[in-house]
Symmetry: D2
Subunit: 173 residues, 4 copies
């Protein structure tokens, strides 16, 4: 199985981070990219809270949660100012990028199109060497997401250390 | 870090399996041991449904879910006949053992005491080489449990195959 | 519309009350009769917690919650001793009666048959003059149950006081 | 107990209704006024879904659910165009009014101030003769809300009909 590198992110603005993040700079870490729209009910009720739980519970693991505001409809009422209020009111603390608006009248933003996303919410899991390992549209079960993250973290740590000894489980209840 | 082997299971009866299971026979697989009592509210509302979800979602992975009925109180109303009805009514399909009653008047059953469990529900995760890697009393978050299982499965597959290539995520949404 | 009087209760034992209750003695109060079996999953996950919420939230209203253990299957493992443990473990505080076992080999207990219940859980609402006003098998939505109780309480208070003034809402958030 | 009439509503725009509603025109019906802001998390997760359940379950009862968008912060990103998208995406079908913006620099809109609301979400229950009978800020339990609505509906029907016979429960499971 040969996997291509995950597409680079094209963004117009970042929140909750002093400077923008790139996949290259995150090499060595597992990345959970959470694509959402602030007025998408499934994102608000399921996706955002799940991303917040991951950011909190994997705080000590080599996992980075990144939000991506992929507005593909109702652009005029989901601009950056509205997003800023949304992130404040919902207490979203992880870094969030605004996806670069499509050019030439394309309603889909650039990164959303590059990843071939079908809608929001979409979660993309990118491994420590920068490849897309999972792309899930809609509800993503906690057990499954936890398992996928655990698998990728184990891979990342194995690659780093080639340990002969037993690794400690990265998360404990 | 050096870990001892998980204690063997002492059981008086099995349900949902033609013959009893042993840790030795499960070598090579990750084991989720779910210790419960049929009249323990936390077991019924949280532990049992979670174990059922794991059994279902990890059906294709090298993971075995085993229930252990560790009766340490109200022994007279939680005997094997009552347990059989409980398993039927709650549609529990994975193998379930009755923990061997303590001898000499010990209210704690044998396996429960051997693992040093503090009560029910308790989840014990045993890795593919037979060692206890996690023991959690009370609520065990789905994200954390999924991550821990994913980590142990990744270890098990690495040990089996020493693959040079990328493994497929074992669970997909 | 003419309604018959609710059938009297035939019981073999009571818990959580110094002496047994009767519909006659409860005249003037709205009665929520909750028929359940201790090993019925829908009763345990939905019915019992709902009855507990009603007992708590309507503590100051003329509403009495009564449990009725209507065992119609697996009689040998749901006897009074097992029920006593169940009520203790699940912290059920409202009065609970054991329905009188059917005679002549009838698997259905006497009160269950008298009310024509189809299974468990079943909620029966009896008004302040002793008539069945609602009988619901299965899940009973909180909003609907609240409305039905509110209606019957309003009726009861109107009959009592024939007030010319506005009544205070009996429950406030 | 003497109650004043509920303040009239001052609104700048209506959605989901051919023409604006007034309390006078709703005389004879129980009104559930749900004050919210589209970017208020408690409104989105709790208040709006609850108002939708009431609108659905009390469709045949003399109950009218009315939403009131009481923007008191972040006015620039919660204007009527954004609200229109919100109502569409969340499938809100009941009538919704935009509260009249405060004058003279008042951040609180007019109706919100007239009712003395403390924030969002707030539910106001107005009886069939136009008086405020309940005003609840924050989470409003389904059982309690159902009971309060049932009480007011019973009052309304009693006043209408002065029936000597038993009324049918307005909602059945």
């Amino acid at each position: 199985m040969t996997l291509l590198a995950a597409p680079a992110w094209s963004t117009s603005r970042w929140f909750n981070t002093p400077e923008g993040l790139t996949l290259d700079a995150l090499r060595g870490r597992v990345v959970m990219l959470h694509a959402f729209q602030m007025l998408c009910p499934g994102c608000v009720s399921h996706g955002i809270p799940q991303a917040q739980r991951v950011a909190s519970q994997f705080a000590d693991a080599p996992v980075t949660v990144v939000g991506l505001h992929t507005v593909f409809e109702h652009h005029d009422v989901m601009g950056p100012d509205a997003l800023a209020v949304f992130l404040h009111e919902y207490r979203v603390r992880f870094p969030v990028a605004v996806d670069q608006p499509g050019s030439g009248g394309d309603p889909l933003p650039v990164t959303m199109r590059a990843y071939g996303m079908r809608g929001t919410p979409t979660v993309v899991l990118i491994d420590a060497v920068g490849r897309v390992r999972q792309q899930a549209f809609g509800a993503y079960d906690d057990l499954k997401l936890g398992c996928d993250l655990g698998t990728l973290v184990a891979e990342a740590l194995t690659a780093r250390e080639r340990p002969s000894e037993t690794t400690r489980l990265s998360v404990s209840p």
